[in-house]
């Protein structure tokens, strides 16, 4: 730095005051530096535009440059793994999937960002916060490894017109789990009788790849009382008879619906886009799929957009409210990043409630805002659009719990192998016995969990 003259001191303090008036946690950088940022490409152009605006605003306010790439989701995952494996990493990567974050945190590949998150953690949905509070097997401690920005839940999507056409009434939608699912069976019969050759009552991913089948299996299992499969301390409770029973019930319910012909046969091989394609082409009346991207994709087709009902989780069969499993996620800063300071600063900028709110709103609300206070006060979230209302309520205001991966990354591998859904498929297609398959899946889980010992603190 140059010698401290009076002028430089004055200039410096003026700069700090200017920065202070933004009330933002900035370092007035004398030398503006660049941070390399990878974010997931949005599913609609508005999401990308929103990010560009936010990055530009940050650049203007701080004087630093953000060199960003908006990369399609699947490619981003592959590049993230390649980068972290090879050691040549950008400064910030948005990890939008379930597994990468916990697994990389376990291997000590992520920079701890507690200094970014701790000061503001009370602003968030408390039930979901553990999603970013991940365990590091090297330091044997948990810490905040991702900067939470977006929250996702899994709602039901229902075609109102198809229900009516099949002789049902939306107002009659049952409140409890099994009754809710059974509602769609006579609707399918009615639609077939009315001449629709290719239509099914229910649709969900019964594949063995991707995260959607994990969501499906978990939701059903939690509905049947299997919530405690993994407890917050990271322990697997595979020998608990209640859990076993829940797993068996899930396998039976999902496979029976398929065998009885209420689910499109193609669902065993759907990829990420196939279930949305199927739903949009009215192949099924109901779809269970994460976020409201299903609806948002039809945003510009008003009639269809209004025809879809977004519905949260029904009550359990005993009438209890069920927690929705949510994924609260955001960008991570990999270890070995060259410009950690600017990355953290950008992170701090983005999670300011006002900034985050504007960003997510511009993205058509596909990701919900994880800040309950603003959700309740800004009419965008709960007043303007019935889909958004239902979705935001489910993911932010109703009871929530984090995805299991936050508790223990071992379940990430179990999920990646889709051990549980493979059990369902085995019962569905190979005629295996549910109890035997449940045992097999739980055993596989145990084997994998053995490789991820978490020290109890």
């Amino acid at each position: 730095m140059a010698i401290l003259t009076r002028r430089s001191v004055v200039r410096g303090s003026l700069g700090l005051i200017a920065a202070g008036t933004f009330a933002r946690p900035f370092i007035a950088n004398a030398a503006a530096t660049t941070a390399e940022v990878w974010f997931a490409q949005g599913f609609v152009p508005e999401e990308d535009a929103a990010f560009k605006t936010m990055a530009a605003a940050y650049e203007k306010a701080s004087g630093n440059k953000i060199d960003y790439s908006l990369i399609p989701f699947a490619a981003l995952r592959q590049k993230a793994i390649s980068a972290i494996t090879s050691g040549v990493v950008p400064d910030m990567i948005e990890l939008a999937d379930f597994q990468l974050g916990p697994l990389q945190a376990w291997d000590d590949k992520l920079t701890d960002v507690s200094d970014v998150v701790e000061p503001v953690k009370s602003q968030y949905v408390q039930g979901a916060l553990p999603c970013t509070y991940l365990y590091n097997s090297v330091t044997k401690k948990r810490g905040y490894c991702a900067i939470p920005m977006k929250i996702a839940a899994v709602p039901f999507h229902i075609w109102k017109s198809l229900v009516e056409k099949g002789g049902g009434k939306i107002a009659d939608l049952p409140k409890t789990w099994d009754a809710f699912m059974d509602f769609f069976k006579p609707v399918q019969k009615g639609l077939r009788a009315a001449g629709m050759r290719n239509v099914y009552g229910m649709g969900y991913q019964l594949t063995a790849t991707g995260v959607d089948p994990i969501n499906t299996f978990n939701a059903w299992m939690i509905a049947y009382g299997g919530q405690g499969l993994i407890t917050p301390d990271g322990k697997l409770h595979s020998d608990d008879p209640h859990i076993k029973e829940a797993v068996i019930k899930t396998i039976v319910n999902l496979s029976t619906a398929f065998k009885d012909g209420y689910v499109p046969p193609g669902c065993v091989n759907w990829n990420d886009a196939d279930d949305n394609n199927a739903f949009h082409s009215k192949l099924m009346v109901m779809d269970f799929d994460g976020t409201i991207s299903t609806e948002v994709a039809l945003y510009h087709e008003k009639e269809k957009y209004d025809d879809i009902l977004t519905h949260g989780l029904p009550l359990s069969n005993e009438g209890k409210e069920l927690p929705s499993q949510v994924n609260l996620f955001g960008p991570v800063i990999p270890k070995g990043a060259k410009n950690v300071a600017v990355a953290k600063e950008f992170g701090k900028y983005m999670i300011q409630p006002k900034v985050l709110n504007e960003y997510l709103k511009a993205g058509l609300g596909r990701w919900a805002l994880p800040i309950p206070e603003i959700v309740k006060s800004d009419p965008f979230w709960l007043k303007e659009d019935p889909h958004r209302t239902a979705y935001t309520t489910q993911s932010v205001l109703a009871p929530t719990m984090p995805i299991y991966e936050a508790y223990n990354p071992a379940i990430a591998q179990v999920g990646a192998e889709n051990a549980f859904m493979s059990a369902v498929i085995a019962v569905m297609k190979d005629g295996a016995k549910p109890e035997a398959e449940a045992d097999k899946a739980l055993k596989r889980a145990e084997t994998i969990f053995a490789k991820y010992p978490i020290a109890s603190s």
Binding site: R77, Q78, I81, S82, T85, Q99, L100, L103, Q104, N198, T207, A208, T209, P264, P265, G266, V268, N269, N271, A278, S281, L283, A412, Q413, A416, E417, N418, A419, M421, S422, I425, A426, K429, R444, T447
Partner: protein, 304 residues
């Protein structure tokens, strides 16, 4: 020529000279420098882009415990079965059809030439959209194929991608569809290089049609056919587009082959080392294949 005493004096220099001479063989010194210079670009490419990455890759896959993990993966065994079936059936069916088609395209006539041009389209058009098109075409509910069946015969076609063997067959179909033109052209070129005198002489002797094929064409093509089969096996082992875009490895991970298993382990399980190990586990089969191929190429005066 050197004398005894000169040898004593010039020992080391002569030793150096002989080494230089052995290296350059029959080439003059200056020419040898040129020959080396011509070879340097490829050697550089080879070292920088093959040796180094392959070495790094093998280092990634060198932990023995990875192979134990691989064996304990529930889908590894079915993957091996799929790979063997894929190689055995798809490659041989493809080469056999290529052989027959190359005979067909030898026929005279302008319309045969026109056919050849259309026939090559699958190879010339990029793979990604083609395979996605096939994936849609085979969809059980709204795919083109089942729509046609329904329109023509009023039956619902099977769900092509939802049963393990149908899905694997579909992936093989896509692979054959895409690659058949390439090998057909190679075998066609081979046939066309059989000198016409031989064929005419055979015709005079009364060997036509099938006889001509069995006794004239096939023996001359046999070596080429074998080399093409070996090469195709090696390429197919690494072919990951077919399975990925047609069946995605499903249903329930039952149609994976080693190439796709490697990618799945590396990127879906976020375990790149396991992915590398999966691919390396094919080496015990690959290396003998390549050795046989290299020996065949060295000895044969092959028309390719």
């Amino acid at each position: 020529m050197t004398t005894a005493s000169a040898i004593d004096i010039g020992g080391p220099a002569i030793a150096r000279d002989s080494l230089w001479r052995t290296l350059r063989g029959s080439l003059k010194s200056s020419e040898y420098v040129w020959a080396l210079a011509f070879l340097v670009p490829y050697i550089a490419v080879f070292f920088v882009f093959v040796v180094y990455p392959a070495g790094y890759g093998m280092w990634l896959g060198s932990k023995p415990s990875l192979y134990l993990d691989l064996l304990s993966d529930p889908i590894y065994q079915s993957t091996i079965v799929n790979t063997v079936l894929f190689l055995g059936i798809a490659v041989n069916l493809k080469m056999f059809c290529a052989l027959l088609l190359s005979g067909f395209f030898m026929r005279p006539g302008w319309w045969v030439k026109g056919m050849l041009m259309i026939f090559v389209l699958p190879w010339a058009v990029p793979a990604l959209p083609e395979f996605i098109s096939i994936h849609w075409m085979l969809n059980g509910e709204w795919g083109l194929l089942n729509n046609v069946f329904y329109a023509l015969f009023n039956v619902d076609g099977p769900s092509w991608l939802n049963e393990r063997w149908l899905a694997l067959g579909s992936a093989m179909y896509a692979h054959i569809w895409k690659n058949l033109p390439f090998w057909t052209i190679i075998l066609l070129a081979g046939r066309m290089s059989i000198p016409t005198e031989i064929r005419d002489a055979a015709k005079v002797d009364g060997a036509t049609g099938i006889r001509s094929f069995l006794y004239i064409s096939f023996p001359l093509l046999a070596n080429l056919y074998l080399i093409c089969t070996l090469l195709s096996t090696i390429f197919t082992l690494g072919d990951f587009n077919s399975v990925t875009f047609i069946s995605g490895g499903g249903p329930a991970n039952s149609t994976h082959v080693l190439a796709t298993l490697g990618i799945r382990d590396a990127f879906d399980l976020a375990n790149p080392r396991l992915g590398v190990a999966a691919v390396m586990s094919a080496l015990p089969v690959m290396i003998p294949l390549v050795i046989i191929l290299m020996r065949k190429l060295k000895t044969a005066e092959v028309q390719l």
